[in-house]
Symmetry: C2
Subunit: 700 residues, 2 copies
Amino acid sequence: MKIDSAADLEFMNELGGVDRTDDGWMKERVLPMEREYQRVSISGEEKCGVPFTDLVDAAKCVVKALFIREKYIALSIQNFCKTTARELGELGEKPLDLRIYEEIPETPVDADAPVHPPVSETHPYENQDTKNMPADTGYSCKMVDGVMHVYTKKSPMEKSTELDLPYPDLKEYIADMNVMMALIINGPVKSFCYRRLQYLSSKFQMHILLNEMKELAAQKKVPHRDFYNIRKVDTHIHASSCMNQKHLLRFIKRAMKKYPGEIVHMEHGRGQTLMEVFESMNLTAFDLSVDTLDMHADRNTFHRFDKFNAKYNPIGESILREIFIKTDNHIEGKYFGHMIKEVMADLEESKYQNVELRLSIYGRSRDEWDKLAQWAVKHQVYSDNVRWLIQVPRLFDVYCTKKQLANFQEMMENIFMPLFEVTINPRSHPELHLFLQHVVGFDSVDDESKPEHHIFNMDSPLPANWTEEDNPPYSYYLYYTYANMAVLNHLRRRRGFHTFVLRPHCGEAGPVHHLVSGFMLSENISHGLLLRKAPVLQYLYYLAQIGIAMSPLSNNSLFLSYHRNPLPEYLSRGLMVSLSTDDPLQFHFTKEPLMEEYSIATQVWKLSSCDMCELARNSVLMSGFSHKAKSYWLGPKYSKEGPESNDIRRTNVPDIRVAYRSETLLEELNLITHAVRTKELDNIDEEDTLSMAPVGAEGR
Amino acid sequence: MKIDSAADLEFMNELGGVDRTDDGWMKERVLPMEREYQRVSISGEEKCGVPFTDLVDAAKCVVKALFIREKYIALSIQNFCKTTARELGELGEKPLDLRIYEEIPETPVDADAPVHPPVSETHPYENQDTKNMPADTGYSCKMVDGVMHVYTKKSPMEKSTELDLPYPDLKEYIADMNVMMALIINGPVKSFCYRRLQYLSSKFQMHILLNEMKELAAQKKVPHRDFYNIRKVDTHIHASSCMNQKHLLRFIKRAMKKYPGEIVHMEHGRGQTLMEVFESMNLTAFDLSVDTLDMHADRNTFHRFDKFNAKYNPIGESILREIFIKTDNHIEGKYFGHMIKEVMADLEESKYQNVELRLSIYGRSRDEWDKLAQWAVKHQVYSDNVRWLIQVPRLFDVYCTKKQLANFQEMMENIFMPLFEVTINPRSHPELHLFLQHVVGFDSVDDESKPEHHIFNMDSPLPANWTEEDNPPYSYYLYYTYANMAVLNHLRRRRGFHTFVLRPHCGEAGPVHHLVSGFMLSENISHGLLLRKAPVLQYLYYLAQIGIAMSPLSNNSLFLSYHRNPLPEYLSRGLMVSLSTDDPLQFHFTKEPLMEEYSIATQVWKLSSCDMCELARNSVLMSGFSHKAKSYWLGPKYSKEGPESNDIRRTNVPDIRVAYRSETLLEELNLITHAVRTKELDNIDEEDTLSMAPVGAEGR
């Protein structure tokens, strides 16, 4: 059945009308019944079910951990949960000021504005004149100990003052990391967090039993809005696998008919046409099928990330991957660009679906950024429904063995130098300057289950001295990406440019401590499967409301069977989870991968329509789309706390659900902070708690 | 991404070419490797793992049951598994001849014909002239004891000879049913069948471990063909819920804009316009959403078939159901007809998807058939991708209470009299004659979990005497539907018209003995969930290769959680299962319900591409589409036995898989028949085995 967009659009426009004219009717009809609901409250002493002293010890650890995260998130100008920040603030301990710079002022969105933001009439890449670009500041920069430093003069050699752009102190970071490590294995703390998580599950269960009907009624009362026409963001999806297998197949077949004679590849100095490439594998367009492409994950990829990675090669031929799903090849990524634009067209037709596509920067050479930006600008690869994240594969060891890199610092320089140059002087990389406006942040990718032979501590070699072919550990990659991003963000904020966030793959597999690095340094993460085995971290991720983009279908093919996936448990406890597809090319069958993902989750886990809409709302909240877009999609007050942040007419999430979540979070935070405050009165040396850690370590 | 049909069609046509020109290449390239595979064989005495005497006793029971089925299937001119029939035949006991009438001769399909049957250029309902219809035979008919009898003269009163149209003898049927009942609870037989089913599972597991790669390779070698472009039939789907919720919603909104002033309903004598209907519920087109429609199954429908049935009413208003999803209403089913045609258009665009839609005949009045046929002909509701099944709801008790029916025989007369009349004289019901050409058979529907207070036996009142408001049991409904269908089929075969089959809902819930009726009387069934609790029946359904149309998503919402569904187990054992959607309106989320159904099954149960293609092939085999269509879709020899029946270039199912299935079935049948033969030599009174039954009943 065709989506009848025109008709739908009309209704959209009516919406404004309806709200304005029938505003009273709206309020009277929707609001009152949405506020009222059955609350569960606990009374009596020792509310949390553990002796007060245990509570206090645990609370101190939890608070300490939250302060650590707050510090690093603030330092890098990323977003920290408002509610949590306020509660921590009341603990006296003055946190770093989150408002070092005032927000770039934006025109507020009218409460009754339509759900569709005004579309920009000009293509962002069209007739852009370098002259209109911000001027050169004349700064220079230089990487010292793996972190970029910026100087006021052109050459660092001239005696020039260094700009004060804050970045973390390595010694302090290592110390904080060790505190976190001790804390997550502290027995008593573990049992405490485990109990609280159990409590949150049961409480939600009671909430549903008591309010399910009310939530449903509220949704029914909202005119026009339903799960199909609320905004959803696919928060974790790779550009190179964002089309489904049937789409790629048809595209290849069309390309073979359209450009048979095009030189697509250099074979030892000699150009090869598309036709010749396929002839060399003796294949005709007709022969090709989804089976021959063989890019779908199957039983044999389970717990075999290596086999899965090989699936990225159509027909197992890396050359086809290079020709069709790379941005930097002999045809300058023409085919890939066209395919992505087809995906974009489908998204725009669907109107409500948006994606955050990952594109790769490897850090092997200095011109990767320019090539990528030129690809995007040349082929006009842009859509209002799409934002970019840059994924950096953790492949230093490979490049090092191939002698492409001498040390880790070179990799960092290749990744960050162009970004500093374009920030200092946009005209130095005009395309990059344009492209970056649609890049929201960094992702770090690779098989987390690979063994790590090194532990990041003060004895670890500095990036410039990391010359061994052994790959640096996850935490090392993340720290230096974070540190450079922090400096870059301060520089960009000074110039009035938007800042970036860190959103790594984290806790998909491998050691649990990846989730510690993620907790300390990143605004949100992808996967987080291993939180199910780490109660302390899971509780901390809940209290800090760290976004987790989960892809159960991907997990089901690689690491964890569908019915064992922790998503429904996380959701019930109130963690900030969203649904994402990861790799439609490898996992999905229909033309609507994201809907397929939602459908399966809903069917297998028996989610309610309210759960689905909450997941969708979460996906928008944790996404990198602009404040303005979110104001239209979720409501002008979306960034406030509690039910007032919600506009059911846009989100289809009942205020009841939003109220339950925020009240529950507040109670939980109060329990913790209250315990710490009372203890502080008898001020006992804080270190006690943590020095206990090793002792309690084997507690459970 | 749009389906690029044109391009695809070209490839289709190429197919013919490729085969003809490169035939040798085909053979050499595909065939050899497909024949070879690793076989599992058992040697030694007492192969089947039970003492020989136990084997013989069990074998006799199993054979007896198969003979019973063969008798009733033959009697009604339905299809019985060839392989099984041949093996039984070798037991001497002469079965009813399945070939009472010679097949209507058909032009054979060329081995290299394209996969698309030639399309009829004229619409089957257009300018049909009653004059060209077959003539009146001048027969008459009359229902006696619930079964129709046909006479050579116009009026049964004139002394006229009755036509010899075979139908079952009630006494004999009851006796056979009792034999079956005793047999399925016979302890030793149960253990035997249970062991065999376990054996079949393990054998398949070994087959996969040994041949998975070979099967995959075979699929890859087939040019162009993959899961997306093989034929699939949705073997169980109700017309009134064949559109998804979003489609229905959009249709209603469009109707409200297009026909606001149309009189759609009579409210005590006064006509009501569509607009008035919605105003009376104070709803505007804009207000409507999927949530307000509220037709999707949710947690609250689990084990509540009543609540589920209520979901058929949009916005809980039965009047909207009447207006939009009924064929017999004030607008003569105009809207419903249009909607079905939109669904048909989507199917035709998809090219490879086909459906067998259920339409209702209630048996409340004699003109239901004519109204239904007029609806189909008037609105030209026809598609090559669609065939009809007639579902009869088991609602006698309701009509009886409402005084719409005096006794059960009236219901049977209302259902069958028009069918006999139109068969005797097509011109008496011209539209019905046309419509019936696309009806493949009968379905029996209702909540099987409703308690049954009556057991069908010789003391049961005859249909004419069944006047109590208590509903007749499932077996009673099925028997009389079967009996009349059998007579009708013989009459139709005499006239050269196509015959009907019985394909009831069976074993979705309720008592296991529903599956006994299904086994004895129907060509194939829908659901069959309860076979998982009835090893003897499951084994019999396997040996007779009775088709089972399963709908795990439907079950998941109503009776059985997804991960507990027996489908993967049935499939591994070799039962003839297919995937169907049942009610996309209530269960599915995407625009491709059948693909969604396959996707979820594949992901949750980790099916291989070969499993998926086998399911799709099964769905075509058990469907009611014409022999000709199947010859194009599956290959000209599809009705043969073993791998020669398979054409991987059309089905994408490796010959290895087909060979494994047929060899395994043969071995199993041989084990049974061999045991019986050896025993017969020492001829022991057959009855022994069965008289044992009650004794053994509590065996397990």
